[in-house]
């Protein structure tokens, strides 16, 4: 035996539990990794190539029993595989095999060092694909610095609750958030619930929070590169909106101007509408165009009456058979007053037959879907196409 064979045999001895056998020793330790069948032949195993003549599946005759031949082929294949496996093991016991093993291990280690951190910080999969989460953070932050991220999440439908879970990086210290979320320091998580925050659940659901962190000294060097890939997820609770209030008859002590609308007090069922509240809400929901909405559109479309209804007569009949509804004179579900997200004539956001906050949100989203052109509202004719989202 030459040196390599001895080492190979010794390797098999040492690693007998891992697949070595006395048979390996007996027939030598040299293996051709590229040809396991050759190795098998060296061990005195039948070569399937040589058995072809006896294999009925090869079409060259052979034993009479087909079943027996299939078993033989299977046995030979298994034996050849085992021999190949033993050959590979024996190879890794030789100096070149050990070098190769070290190189493979080094490669795996390098890969681990390069990518393990990134893999560990992958954002969790969103539980509901319809939930869209957007984070805006500063491009970088240094040790000791506080930085604030804005997180906004949207859901096109309606739900019992809307939850944002922010799992922040190791090396950050939670400072505060608006609205104040539930902080789990151990799990490095901040959780916000829209219903806990007392925010009206409307359709579409739009939830925005800000969260401030401080960068600790133990933060990884590349932390600033990851802030943009902030791991945040959003989820919704199934079911109809908990805070959705269907239209009532006049339940606000005569405050509401119901006119002749067939739904009653659909625009202010909670009796909380005032012009002051409307402007504040518009500033919150669409700050860039709040003045245009308030001073130009609502005033001309509905005279600040969330219960305004233009009956489907005359020109209005050609526009929408259900009439025009609310502060923004939009469409209605069929029948009117159905809980969102029932669509209006032009889709989910063409809904004016809802409470005044939903009216405003629907109008804003409807306009955004039209690239902020304001082309739906005749009162904004002078501004048509002047703005873009």
């Amino acid at each position: 035996m030459d040196d390599e064979n001895e080492q190979g045999g010794g390797g098999d001895d040492g690693g007998g539990g891992a697949g070595g056998s006395s048979g390996d020793k007996k027939h030598g330790g040299h293996f051709d990794i590229s040809n396991p069948l050759k190795n098998a032949a060296r061990r005195g195993m039948p070569n399937p190539a040589n058995m072809r003549a006896n294999n009925p599946l090869s079409g060259r005759g052979g034993p009479k029993g087909t079943k027996r031949s299939i078993v033989s082929v299977g046995r030979v294949t298994a034996q050849a595989s085992a021999a190949a496996f033993r050959g590979i093991l024996a190879f890794f016991a030789t100096p070149p095999g050990i070098v190769t093993l070290v190189l493979i291990a080094a490669t795996i280690f390098i890969f681990y060092m390069l990518f393990a951190d990134e893999v560990a910080n992958q954002p969790p999969t969103e539980p509901d694909p319809a939930v869209r989460v957007r984070t805006t953070c500063p491009p970088q932050a240094v040790v000791g610095q506080e930085f604030t991220c804005a997180i906004s999440a949207t859901y096109p439908g309606i739900a019992k609750d809307f939850i944002i879970i922010d799992t922040y990086f190791d090396g950050l210290e939670y400072v505060s958030s608006i609205p104040e979320g539930k902080h789990d320091a151990t799990g490095r998580k901040v959780t916000w619930s829209m219903s806990d925050a007392g925010i009206l659940l409307t359709s579409p659901l739009i939830f925005g929070v800000t969260v401030t962190f401080r960068v600790l000294g133990s933060a990884p060097d590349k932390l600033y590169q990851k802030i943009q890939a902030y791991p945040v997820e959003g989820s919704v609770s199934a079911g109809a909106a908990a805070n959705y209030v269907p239209a009532n008859r006049d339940n606000c002590g005569g405050k509401a101007n119901l006119g002749k609308n067939p739904l009653g007090n659909f625009g202010d069922p909670a009796c909380d509408y005032t012009n002051d509240e409307l402007y504040t809400f518009l500033k919150l929901e669409d700050p860039l165009y709040a003045e245009l909405w308030y001073l130009t559109i609502v005033v001309g479309e509905s005279s600040y009456n969330p219960n305004a209804w233009a009956a489907p007569v005359g020109q209005q009949a050609s526009l929408d058979a259900g009439g025009a509804w609310g502060n923004f004179q939009m469409g209605s579900s069929t029948p009117p007053g159905t809980a969102p997200p029932a669509p209006g004539k032009n889709g989910e956001f063409d809904r004016g037959d809802v409470n005044w906050k939903m009216q405003a949100k629907s109008a804003i989203q409807y306009n955004r879907n039209q690239n902020c052109s304001f082309r739906y509202w005749a009162t904004a004719r002078s501004k048509w196409g002047a703005y873009k989202c």
Binding site: P96, T135, R375, S382
Partner: protein, 185 residues
């Protein structure tokens, strides 16, 4: 023996080649990642998907508003002129008439007009409750003057006139163009 050495060299070379390929892939992967520059402001990725709702419909308001007047009102609102001390005092006197604890509310009401101060936009809104628009505007003007406001101060407050919803619907189809500005503003 020589044959074995050749095989060993071949295997080591193969392993080395594998390692080079691995490094090459790693370098490619990292070079594809955008490098952050200190001054570089990264644009946040917008993940909100918007579904355009194609429609060419427009609303059909009962009364057409004067767009030039509307734009002028917007301009007055966004670029407010400072009130004189007399007008500031007069405004404070009007607001003092609000019920205690209220920042917004009706400060004057007749059968023809209802004058409301709205705190968040800091705006006086006059709802016209009659089809006689000119008379209603004049009545509002008289009242503000009676509170000590100058004519210029009335325009600079600013004031916003609008038609009551029922009144506006009574005037539907009459081809009326309504200005939300006060007389002389």
């Amino acid at each position: 023996m020589k044959q074995k050495q050749k095989e060993n060299i071949f295997i080591i070379a193969l392993a080395g080649l594998l390692l080079i390929i691995v490094f090459w892939i790693a370098i490619l992967a990292f070079s594809a990642e955008p490098t952050l520059q200190p001054e570089q402001q990264i644009q946040p990725t917008i993940t909100i998907t918007l579904t355009p709702t194609p429609t060419h419909e427009t609303t059909s308001p009962p009364v057409k508003y004067d767009t030039a007047a509307q734009d002028k009102l917007l301009d007055k609102f966004n670029n407010r002129q400072a009130l004189s001390s007399n007008d500031t005092f007069a405004k404070a006197k009007i607001l003092a008439s609000l019920p205690p604890g209220q920042q917004s509310g009706i400060v004057y009401k007749t059968s023809n007009i209802s004058i409301e101060y709205v705190h968040s936009p800091d705006l006086f809104q006059i709802e016209i409750l009659t089809t006689d628009i000119a008379q209603a505007k004049a009545a509002a003007n008289v009242w503000f003057r009676a509170q000590g406001m100058s004519q210029r101060g009335i325009c600079d407050l600013p004031l916003l006139f609008y038609l009551n919803w029922e009144i506006a619907n009574q005037m539907r189809g009459q081809n009326i163009q309504f200005s939300p500005l006060g007389n002389g503003c």
